[in-house]
């Protein structure tokens, strides 16, 4: 019977086991790599134990993966009746380097916030077609990375710097040096998610008021930035949307403005996801998962290391057993990384961070034993020192 080939996650190995008598394969093992990291491998039944060796020439597999694959192959070889149909066996061994479907929204832990800054709501009444923007631009990104997205509109949010008027282009300009001062006052209004500790990527759209219009951003070479956007890695971007010719001076206040979301979203998404087909490539996703896991494990180890150092220095701390149990988090994450389960590794590393922070900030750590060593010295030296001095002098 034919098993339906189901959609695999990338990074999986699909093994087609072919009976010896069939003429489909002209060599014993044939493997080819499709779609970045999915390996399809066809092998004749007696030779399936050699698959692992053949594949490791083509793809990099971690030790754990190789071992498990070898075990499965041996198991299949030894009891073929359990597994093989007469004709085709499509045996999908989804050992993963990464499991895309396991990525829950909180796994990567990103949040994206799109904010519209309107410093002068009396003048401009801004509208943007959010629905359309989400369908066309955000949805594919959400499917890939599944972060959480928020839209918000902030009124009376001003930039922290006063742009200078440049006569040569008869416009206001913000130069690249004072762009770093722009973010601070805005960040106070933006806030981060109060209810979770995920990192946030902010994409701001600033519509300058009438007294600062038009506003251009100049990069380091004094040229106008092409899309009028300023990008700060790991924080987000600010785009300035100029409204020069959209209304005359006699228009009724507040003026209704519709923002062209296509232009805006294009710019933002170019910053959020590197260019390529359908957003983020799978290989990049692997790299992202791997680097995030390693980063998380390093972060998780820091409080625990400092706790251990503290304990060495002042021996009086009382650390409860419950805290000691929580400290084992990073180990399991490292084990998963070695085994090649990136998704599990990331999950465990996030759990490890939470556990280590909880252990570090546990209130029971504040209970020092009442007499630390230096206080003991301070109390007993004036008592016993004169006695010992006299005794010593007497002995001499």
């Amino acid at each position: 019977s034919l098993h339906m080939l189901s959609e695999n996650s990338c990074g999986s190995v699909v093994v087609y086991v072919i009976p010896e008598s069939s003429t489909l394969l002209n060599q014993r093992i044939r493997a080819f790599v499709v779609h970045g990291a999915t390996v399809h491998c066809a092998a004749m039944f007696p030779y399936i134990v050699y698959i692992v060796a053949a594949l490791s020439k083509r793809v990099h597999m971690t030790k754990g993966t190789k071992e498990r694959m070898a075990d499965s192959m041996r198991a299949i070889k030894s009891s073929p009746g359990e597994y093989s149909p007469s004709f085709w066996l499509v045996f999908s061994v989804a050992y993963s380097f990464n499991f895309l479907y396991l990525i829950s929204p909180y796994l990567l832990g990103y949040e994206i916030t799109f904010s519209l800054l309107n410093p002068d709501p009396k003048l401009h009444s801004l509208h943007c077609d959010i629905q359309d923007a989400i369908q066309s631009y955000i949805q594919p990104l959400l499917n890939k990375l599944a972060p959480i997205a928020n839209f918000s509109i902030l009124y009376y949010a001003v930039l922290g710097v006063n742009p200078r008027f440049d006569n040569s282009v008869s416009a206001y300009t913000l130069s690249a040096d004072n762009l770093s001062h722009v973010i601070n006052p805005v960040e106070a209004r933006l806030g981060s998610n109060a209810a979770s500790s995920n990192p946030v990527l902010n994409f701001l759209l600033y519509v300058p008021g009438a007294h600062h219009s038009p506003l251009y951003i100049r990069d380091h070479s004094k040229m106008k930035a092409p899309s009028n956007t300023f990008h700060s890695p790991r924080w987000g971007s600010i785009m300035v949307y100029n409204l020069n010719e959209m209304y005359g001076s006699e228009a009724e206040r507040p003026v209704d403005i519709n923002i062209n979301m296509a232009k805006v979203m294009g710019v933002f998404l170019a910053h959020a996801a590197p260019p390529g087909s359908a957003g983020l490539a799978d290989r990049e996703l692997d790299r992202l998962l791997w680097s995030r896991s390693v980063e998380n494990i390093a972060t998780a180890s820091t409080p625990i290391t400092s706790l251990a150092q503290l304990l060495d220095q002042t021996g009086n701390n009382v650390i409860n057993d419950s805290i000691a149990q929580q400290v084992g988090g990073p180990d399991s994450a490292v084990a998963e990384l070695e085994a090649g389960n990136l998704a599990f590794a990331l999950q465990y590393s996030r759990v490890a961070i939470l556990a280590s922070e909880r252990a570090f900030f546990d209130p029971s750590l504040l209970h020092l034993l009442y007499f630390p060593v230096d206080q003991k010295f301070a109390i007993y030296i004036p008592l016993f020192l004169p006695m010992y001095c006299k005794s010593l002098i007497f002995c001499l």
């Binding site: 009396k122 949805q139 209004r189």
Partner: protein
């Protein structure tokens, strides 16, 4: 296998779904003070609790509160920070009552499985948002009242397992709490009525209370659509005798040191009401306005001058109706601790019913910390020197270091009477690490809450209209002949038996001294020897001897 994650995107059209209103009510009080009450209301048509929501859009509703509501499945949230105590007998009833310190009560949704875990995280997140130490709220000061705090919004929940109430009487309110509160407003403090809120003047007052109330409400009579309502209220009572020069005149500039310039452009209505009911002839308002309005609030019909900041020339309702004196508050409560010494004591709660001929029931809720061990068998309720048995008592005893006492009683108050509730208690001795750094200041006991439906002399409006002023629509009015009142008593300050924390130091000093003196004398006795010592020759002889030695001549004796 690639499972396509099913994302339900809940998308809002940008402009049509939220609404913001602001108002300020100024009422001169009989004692010479001025009561100013700000209310900011944001109505938002959305459903936080929809499952799988991945995209949220915030325009007027603050994002931080929206995220908190959705993460913890909160149905109603009421938080207030108050400094000072509201004197009901001198000032009347406030529009929105609040106890001194911080108070937080939350109704969670029925889908929550671990209410205690959600409560703990919620208090910590809110303490971050409001810069207050709400993280001191834990299970030792949280109670679940069974009848006193019914939901103020929609919902017919009767299961009080999803309700949590906590109060921190010791919490101080200052500018650090006002600033994040102002940040939640859509216009911030840049435009509209919030421009008046400057902390130098606001905290230089007899009473200051800021609160946030979030609840789901119906948007129309038939309740075909629901919306979330966020009300931010700020109540201040200025004492103009100390700050004025003795003249009984006041102005916005004198009170707030700012003037109103414009309305918030995002507000659909922005109004200032001035209460001119008492003494309309003696009053002179400038700038004068022909707009007058009447509203029935707290069982009293009062007349207001209305200033509309958005449309300065619009006309509203009609003629004044003179009423004489301030309506004496019909319900009033006090509480104090009696007894002497540091072992036992007695809590007395006195509730006054000032209505001349009507009796009505009140619900008294008391939450006493575990270290005051109540003897409930000594609980007595007396009215007019006769025993008054409560018709409903809900008592949950305390568990040391886990849970406080909760006592709720439904008491029928006879007309024009004073009812006294007394209960004896014993003070516990705490472990020495549980004392605060200033234990001799005392320990606070939170205010008692007296909730009642008080019969009203004036018919209340029960029909729902959109242009009702905000201060009269806070509490839902279910029937015409009574209105809901909540009165908070004073918090108590009790001294617990406190050990002398300087004793370890004293013991060490004494021991060291005794040992030193004792050992020193004993050592001397044992080891001191006496020798005869020649007196040393005078200086001249010594010099002479020195010279003789140099000369090689025999020395003097």
């Amino acid at each position: 296998m690639l499972i396509l994650s099913s994302l339900l995107l809940f998308i809002l059209l940008a402009a049509a779904r939220d609404e913001f209103q602001e108002e300020l009510v100024i009422r001169p009080l009989h004692s010479g003070d001025i009561y100013a009450s700000f209310q900011f209301r944001t109505l938002w048509d959305t459903d936080f609790l929809q499952e799988g929501q991945k995209v949220s859009h915030y325009r007027l509703f603050p994002k931080s509160l929206g995220q908190v509501l959705s993460k913890f499945s909160v149905r109603e949230l009421h938080i207030s920070f108050t400094q000072g105590f509201w004197r009901t007998m001198q000032w009347g009833q406030p529009f929105i009552p609040s106890p001194p310190g911080a108070e937080l009560w939350v109704w969670f949704h029925d889908t929550v499985s671990d209410v205690d875990g959600n409560w703990k995280e919620l208090t910590n997140v809110l303490s971050g948002i409001f810069c207050a130490s709400l993280n001191f709220i834990d299970l030792t000061n949280t109670v679940q009242p069974s009848a006193s705090f019914k939901p103020l919004g929609l919902g017919n929940a009767t299961d009080h397992r999803f309700l949590r109430y906590a109060t921190l009487p010791r919490e101080i309110v200052c500018t650090e709490n006002l600033t994040p509160w102002k940040k939640l407003l859509p216009c911030g403090s840049k435009a509209g009525l919030a421009v008046l809120m400057k902390s130098e003047k606001l905290f230089h007052s007899s009473f200051h209370s800021q609160a946030v109330h979030i609840r789901p409400i119906c948007q129309d009579e038939q309740c075909s659509s629901k919306a979330w309502e966020l009300r931010q209220t700020l109540n201040v009572v200025f004492d103009l005798h100390t700050s004025g020069q003795g003249k009984k005149e006041w102005s916005l500039f004198k009170m707030f040191s700012r003037t109103l310039t414009e309305a918030c452009p995002l507000a659909s209505s922005s109004k200032v009401y001035v209460d001119i009911t008492d003494n309309p002839e003696l009053f002179e308002l400038s700038p004068a306005t022909p707009l007058l309005g009447q509203a029935v609030v707290l069982g009293d019909r009062r007349t207001y001058s209305v200033y509309d900041l958005i449309m300065p020339t619009s006309s509203m309702v009609l003629s004044p109706c003179a009423l004489g004196d301030m309506l004496r508050p019909l319900l009033h409560a006090e509480r104090y601790v009696a007894g002497f010494g540091l072992q036992t004591g007695e809590i007395h709660t006195v509730i006054y019913n000032n209505h001349p001929y009507r009796a009505f029931p009140v619900l008294l809720m008391d939450s006493v910390p575990w270290y005051l061990q109540l003897y409930i068998h000594t609980l007595t309720v007396t009215s007019k020197s006769r025993d008054n048995k409560p018709s409903y008592i809900h008592y949950q005893p305390a568990k040391d270091r886990h849970r406080p006492h909760l006592l709720e009683m439904l008491i029928q108050l006879p007309p024009h009477s004073m009812t006294e509730v007394t209960v004896q208690f014993e003070r516990a001795l705490l472990k020495w690490t549980e004392y605060t750094p200033d234990p001799n200041h005392g320990f606070y006991v939170g205010s008692s809450v007296v909730s009642a439906l008080v019969p009203s002399m004036v018919a209340m409006r029960t029909n729902f209209t959109q242009d009702q002023p905000l201060f009269s629509s806070f509490v839902p009015v279910k029937e015409e002949s009574s209105y809901f009142v909540r009165v908070y008593t004073e918090p108590l300050l009790v001294n617990l038996p406190t050990p002398d924390f300087s004793m370890p130091y004293n013991v060490i000093c004494l021991t060291c001294t005794v040992v030193a003196v004792g050992y020193g004398s004993f050592y001397n006795l044992l080891t001191r020897t006496f020798q005869v010592d020649e007196p040393s020759p005078p200086l001249s002889k010594r010099l002479a001897n020195l010279i003789r030695r140099m000369r090689g001549v025999p020395l003097l004796t």
